[in-house]
Amino acid sequence: MTKRRSWVVPAIVFATVLTLIIVGPLAALLSSTLFGSHLVELGHRLTTPAILTSLRHSLTLGVGTIIGTTLITTPLAFIMTRTKLAQYSWLHWLLLVPFMTPPYINAMGWIYFFQPHGLWAQVFPNSALSFKGLFSPLGIILIMSLHLYPFAYLLLRNALAQFNQRWTQAALVHAVSRWRILTRVTLPILLVPYLAMWVLVFTKTLAEFGTPATFGRNIHFDVLTTTIQRDLSQWPLDFKGGVLAGTILLSIALCAWVVQQTLLKQPKIQMTHNQHSVINRHWHVTLAAGLAITVLLLAAIGIPAVSIVFQSLLKQRSAGLTSSNLTLEHYLALLRFDSPAFQALINTFGMAIVISFANLVIGTLISVASTTKRLPRWLRKCLHLLGSLPLAIPNVVLALSLMIFFSQLFAFTKLYGTISVLLIADVVLFLPTTVQYMTTAFQEFNDNYLNSARIFETSSSRIIFKIVVPILMPALVNSFAMSFIATSRELVVALLLLPSGMTTISSFIYQSFEQGEASQGMALAVMTVLITFASLSLSNQWLDKQLKLSH
């Protein structure tokens, strides 16, 4: 009993600190909405056109993106499980690329490509195509769908790969009509993955700031996230409006999160089997699938990439596409150690490393605590909840709540205005991914290794470093890489919480879009994407090597 208590006390302290940091700011936000102004005024504010419009736009964008990603992913998941293309794993990785480039960069790429006198018009001056229709809510839905489909694709591909085709075969043998197979067998099985995917896409779209802030502003499409940022950082200020919009956004996101959590609790349909999916080998199916994927990749990667690279090479932006107008000077400027862009690069990667480490440590602790049998059930649940809650909090809302928390309630700490608040925000934001990776790793951890190690090895440090850490290494590296990428491209938190005199990559690119040298910003964007890829593929290669060594 005493042994058990010795675990419980530190765990409770840990949970309390986490609650203070994660739930505290949200409580501050809610209370400042509810008690900051009179109820009548609150009701009045709730019905102002600005709030209603951005709420409507947010929901439109969310639902539109759900439809968009579904339309993209459904055929894609089928192609990548049921045709000959499924055997190419490089294609699988290529399809995930759009998720790795920051969405605001993609959005800028689309603008520069399709605007009047944009890249398309310069390459095809005689083209009669008009892209007016693209500069509409449809365009922004398309951009969001093309950015978010990789998530949806991963979910759906796994579901399809595990789909036991014997069920449909059994139905066929019993002469069930195709329609009934679809409605009675296929759809019910796929419903849960689809629902999970929709909730995920909806939450991500709702929380998205970069695309509405760039492309959306171009077409005057304000959503909740941009309204919050505008209320907090543009003249005339409207703090209360921003706080209210933040509360609305948080409530919707929390609802979606609750739905998601209940979905996860659904008893899983046992789909494991040793049968491989039947591959359709008709050549015309393969051809059609290849064409579809090419079109998708061109739209999702090709257009933004070409457009951004092109912008980053321009000497004069009005002169357009001529060989004499191309220059590498913007890239050379990045290499100068005193250039602000280089500073931004250093700042960002330095911060990303600190944040990813802190994230890894806290995330691992939460995972250990929520899987170990030594803690009472309620405490484990509580910690697990804390670890997954930030998934529901949109970045801009977290930044806003931390702003209120540290500038009003905890002003005495003098932390507001320093980089600490930004660090806390980023660590909290990316905690759920780490917790998820590590929890899965711990659950899959085979206790036999430990038991046999304990028999043959007395030094526990050797057990940790020779057995536990190597086994957990893939999960550790993956979660580090994920939070590193996410931190280095995070935009809105940086815009709201960066201390004076500091820029990060994302704030630099955004400012160069808004105020400075667009070409310089685009050059930095290209560099960032390249660095991200290089570090990802390096860590992957290293992991592969480790795996081969261990076998």
Partner: protein, 337 residues
């Protein structure tokens, strides 16, 4: 039992590094605040050309040995940062692009009075009798147009209501651009709103910040900017971009860019030195090189051809009073929400 030891070790390491991280973060914060209490550091929030403010700050650091931390942003962003930090002020000196915003801070008694050495040298139009706003430079607004799209250059505001500019006009958003805020306000004080209604009928739209609307004209997305700032366009013209800039002949707003010391400052001596430096010949020359109008100039001239700019005479205290109503009207006429 060993199992427990392992988990214990992992958590011990984890807690140690967590503590280390928190300590480092706190320590970092403390180091920063310690810096601030010494007289040898200054925090400046500056709106406006980043290159110029970087140059000024570097020169000042070299000259005085005082370390300067800067935050660059639009006028709106600076004001919001100020508001967020109300209970824990960070800034010592502000440089804004909007005179109305400066006067607003002045009327709320947020500013320190200082009889700056060189303030007598300032152009009479830029002097502040209360010695709180130091208009070390100024910028004018006008019409930026794409020379490939517009064959006959516009000469006055009224030219833009012509059919040729249909759906090709953009106005910098007063919510982000301080100079646009003042222009929209002062223009309505002088001439009422009918002009903006005509612009709306001609398909004019509110764009983003100054650079964004300029970029739209440079890339040919739009034909002309109504009320774009001069120095930005002129810098682009000097770079060879195919655009032109016109100072309207019926008159335009020459907007002083005020620097000011906040009353809450803990480094008044350093801040005063900074203001003196802003009004020094070195900086005034740098301002001219950035195509802004130096505060100590005797005539307001067009940097492209040295012709005198016809400027509105503005009572900034009246302008501050009229601001909110005029911006609201402007947004009703041209806004989207």
């Amino acid at each position: 039992m060993k199992n427990k030891k392992i988990v214990l070790t992992i958590s011990a390491i984890a807690i140690l590094s967590l503590g280390g991280a928190i300590y480092a973060a706190n320590h970092h914060g403390k180091a920063a605040t310690n810096d601030k209490t010494s007289t040898q550091s200054l925090t400046v929030y500056a709106a406006g050309p980043k290159k110029l403010s970087d140059k000024i700050v570097k020169g000042f650091e070299k000259d005085s040995g005082i370390k300067v931390k800067t935050f660059d942003g639009t006028t709106g962003k600076i004001l919001s940062k100020l508001k967020a930090e109300e209970s824990n002020p960070q800034a010592d000196v502000l440089i804004l692009a909007s005179m109305a915003a400066g006067v607003d801070l002045q009327s709320h008694k947020k500013l320190l009075t200082y009889d700056a050495k060189n303030s007598t040298k300032l152009n009479t139009q830029f002097k502040d009798n209360q010695h709180q706003l130091f208009n070390y430079s100024a910028s004018a607004v006008g019409i930026t147009y794409n020379t490939q799209e517009v064959k006959t250059p516009p000469t006055d505001w009224s030219d833009l209501t012509d059919e040729r500019y249909k759906n090709g006009l953009t106005i910098p958003d007063p919510k982000t651009s301080g100079s646009s805020l003042d222009f929209v306000n002062v223009y309505q004080m002088q001439h009422g709103q009918s002009y903006f209604k005509q612009l709306k009928q001609n398909g004019a739209e509110i764009g983003g910040a100054n650079k964004e609307v300029l970029d739209a004209v440079v890339t040919g997305q739009k034909k002309a900017v109504v009320g774009g700032v001069d120095y930005m366009s002129i810098a682009a013209i000097k770079k060879g971009e195919k655009i032109g800039f016109a100072y309207p002949k019926s008159g335009t707003l020459v907007n002083p860019r005020p620097a000011m010391i906040l009353k809450s400052t803990k480094h008044a001596t350093a801040a005063k030195k900074f203001i003196d430096y802003l009004l020094s010949d070195t900086v005034q020359k740098q301002i001219k090189q950035s195509y802004l109008i130096p505060g100590t100039t005797d005539k307001l001239t067009n940097p492209l051809n040295d012709q005198v700019i016809k400027s509105y005479t503005v009572n900034w205290h009246d302008a501050n009073q009229a601001l909110e109503a005029n911006i609201k009207k402007f947004n009703q006429v041209l806004g989207h929400d």
